[in-house]
């Protein structure tokens, strides 16, 4: 399994997890020229922008650590673009991070950080 495939499977797992938690996934891999948002979902009133990080080993640190300040800033900018696009009513917004640590072929550990960060 190459790296992009690992990432893709991780995002699938995260989306499935969010659906199981009762969220409505409205976008997957929403793209702009600045990058993409992995998952956009509705949690009741709240609009959730979710970044998914999948790791097969801890050699490069945990998934959460990879969401650096510059990555967070990028996510915020993309969220602003999404919110300013047509048809989005003003609503509470949240940034979540889901970190997945792959343990074996069909086993993984998933950590969901609700409101992991705010705009600085």
């Amino acid at each position: 399994m190459d790296r992009s495939e690992v990432g893709k499977r991780g995002e699938d797992a995260a989306a499935a997890y969010l659906e199981r938690q009762g969220l409505d996934v409205v976008e997957r891999n929403w793209r702009t020229e600045r990058g993409e948002i992995d998952i956009i979902a509705l949690d009741g009133e709240d609009l959730v922008f979710c970044e998914v990080k999948t790791r097969t080993s801890a050699s490069r640190g945990t998934g959460e650590e990879a969401v650096s300040q510059s990555k967070r800033r990028k996510l915020v900018r993309m969220a602003e673009i999404y919110l300013s696009s047509a048809g989005i009513e003003p609503c509470p917004v949240r940034f979540d991070v889901i970190a997945i640590h792959v343990l074996g072929p069909d086993r993984a550990l998933l950590r969901h950080h609700r409101a992991a960060f705010v705009v600085e």
Binding site: D46, A79, L83, P90, P92, A115, V118, V119
Partner: protein, 486 residues
């Protein structure tokens, strides 16, 4: 949703009203503080967020903007934590907004939601009492702010306390413990130095500035410390003033509140800002901390020239005005200045027994470090000579007890308060006036020096409870200006 909470911030020794406005609206989750807030205020964001969560309130997942008005005023310090937290709670309906209408809040928050004391609690309390508003602050400050008249204080240990609405006002009554000030050093414990003790008595009775000149080890510092013990305890108003400066500087004001006169003896390496105040945010210096007490400068010529000259204006005016680009702050600085120095670098110039080894030039340079304008402001210059060793070894107290001296000083104070407050010059007897004029012409005394001689003569007359100033009073006063007349 919006909410406003009143608070105050320090400028000098005063607390100025500031409004904390919070706006919570849907959108990207932001927690921003605007309104010329310094780093400590910006850090309030992390403390407020953690404090709210740890006591079980919700921090809104929304766009939270806090404005500190008036915006052009610079805001320093951690006292904004509590009002910011309350404004956010009120804007999100977790605390009823009406409950905070008549309340001014100040206090720092711990991550666990504890409410902590900040410097200047007394200033905040005075400001709240003056504005007829309740003060909401740390519980631990309750006893101390109890000395402020007409204050309604609501103390809380933790932000969690706000879940049950506002706490009741406590009026912890004035906790002034009138302990008679224990003198740092009793004059009676000092052997010899009879003429110097007389000088101390006059300085204490009239709050005159004092310069002690003598060889090393002759007892200059000891005498200066004894001066503080001779002064009567602080009056109620004075103790509040002095305590206020200590509180603003972040020091414990309890000693001042107990009526003990401040005694400050900064080391001669002290910077200008350390001596008269300064820094960002401005902080009172040693001179203001000695307000209503004694500022003792040991080894006067060793102080930096800039520090010494910075003293000149506040000595005259009793107040220090620090002017900075963004405004001026004033700190009170009515001190009795006591300074000590050697007559020359080796210390023995003028000593009857021991020969001075300094060249004339060295002596002149040493003395010039202090400078004429500062000498001019010294009302009493006392020459301190070495005491006969036998006196020190036998430890024989031959002088009046400090109690006696202090009661004479208190009587003189009372007398000065009751005597007719007409011009001092009109109390000068004709022959006293003639002597003063003669001496002033002869020694080329400055206008200020003449005025100061009259004031010292007035104090000497007060000690004798005499309304007219007679020739012996003037003669003694002139004798203490040996610097000019020598």
């Amino acid at each position: 949703m919006q909410a406003t909470v009143a608070t105050t911030t320090l400028t000098g020794v005063e607390a100025i009203a500031v409004e904390v406005q919070a706006d919570v609206s849907p959108g990207l989750p932001v927690f921003g503080i605007v309104g010329l807030a310094d780093t400590a205020v910006q850090e309030a964001r992390d403390r407020v967020r953690a404090a709210l969560r740890s006591v079980g309130f919700d921090f809104p997942n929304a766009r939270v903007i806090v404005n500190l008005a008036p915006a052009p005023l610079r805001k320093h310090g951690t006292g904004f934590d509590l009002p910011i937290a309350l404004a956010v709670l009120a804007a999100t309906g977790q605390v009823p907004r009406a409950a905070l209408d008549d309340v001014t809040a100040v206090g720092e928050l711990g991550l666990d939601g504890s409410v902590r004391e900040i410097p200047g609690m007394l200033a905040h309390a005075i400001s709240a009492a003056r504005a007829d508003r309740d003060l909401l602050g740390p519980f631990s400050a309750g006893r101390m702010v109890g000395v402020v008249p007409q204050l309604r204080y609501r103390g809380i240990e933790s932000l969690a306390r706000m879940k049950g609405g506002l706490p009741a006002t406590a009026s912890p009554k004035a906790s002034r413990v009138q302990t008679p000030a224990i003198p740092i050093l009793d004059v009676a414990d000092i052997a010899g130095h009879e003429s110097a003790k007389r000088g101390l008595e006059i300085a204490a009775a009239g709050r005159h500035n004092l310069l002690l000149v003598g060889p090393p080890g002759s007892g200059k510092s000891m005498l200066a410390r004894a001066l503080c013990g001779l002064l009567p305890p602080l009056t109620e108003a004075e103790s509040l003033e002095s305590a206020l400066v200590h509180s603003v500087a972040g020091l414990d004001p309890r000693q001042c509140l107990d009526g003990i006169r401040p005694f400050r003896a900064p080391h001669h390496s002290c910077s200008v800002a350390g001596l008269v105040g300064g820094g960002t945010p401005p902080r009172p210096g040693e001179m203001s901390l000695a307000h209503n007490g004694v500022l003792f400068l040991d080894e006067l010529p060793e102080f930096g020239p800039a520090s010494l000259q910075a003293l000149r204006q506040p000595i005259e005016e009793g107040v220090i005005t620090l002017v900075r680009a963004h405004g001026a702050v004033r700190y009170p600085a009515r001190v009795t200045l006591a300074a000590a120095m050697n007559p020359c670098p080796c210390g023995y110039a003028g000593d009857p027994q021991r020969e001075c080894r300094c060249t004339d030039g060295a002596v002149a340079r040493y003395s010039a470090r202090v400078g004429g304008p500062l000498y001019d402001r010294m009302d009493l210059t006392l020459r301190i000579d070495r005491v006969d060793p036998a006196l020190i070894i036998d430890d024989a107290p031959v002088t009046p007890m400090s109690e006696t001296v202090r009661s004479r000083i208190t009587t003189a104070h009372a007398f000065a308060g009751t005597r007719h407050p007409c011009s001092m010059r009109s109390q000068l007897q004709p022959d006293a006036r003639a002597l003063l004029e003669d001496a002033a012409r002869h020694a080329n005394l400055s206008g200020r020096a003449v005025t100061r001689v009259v004031r010292v003569a007035r104090t000497i007359a007060d000690l004798e409870q005499s309304v007219p100033i007679v020739v012996s009073h003037v003669a003694e006063a002139l004798g203490y200006r040996s610097w000019d007349t020598a």
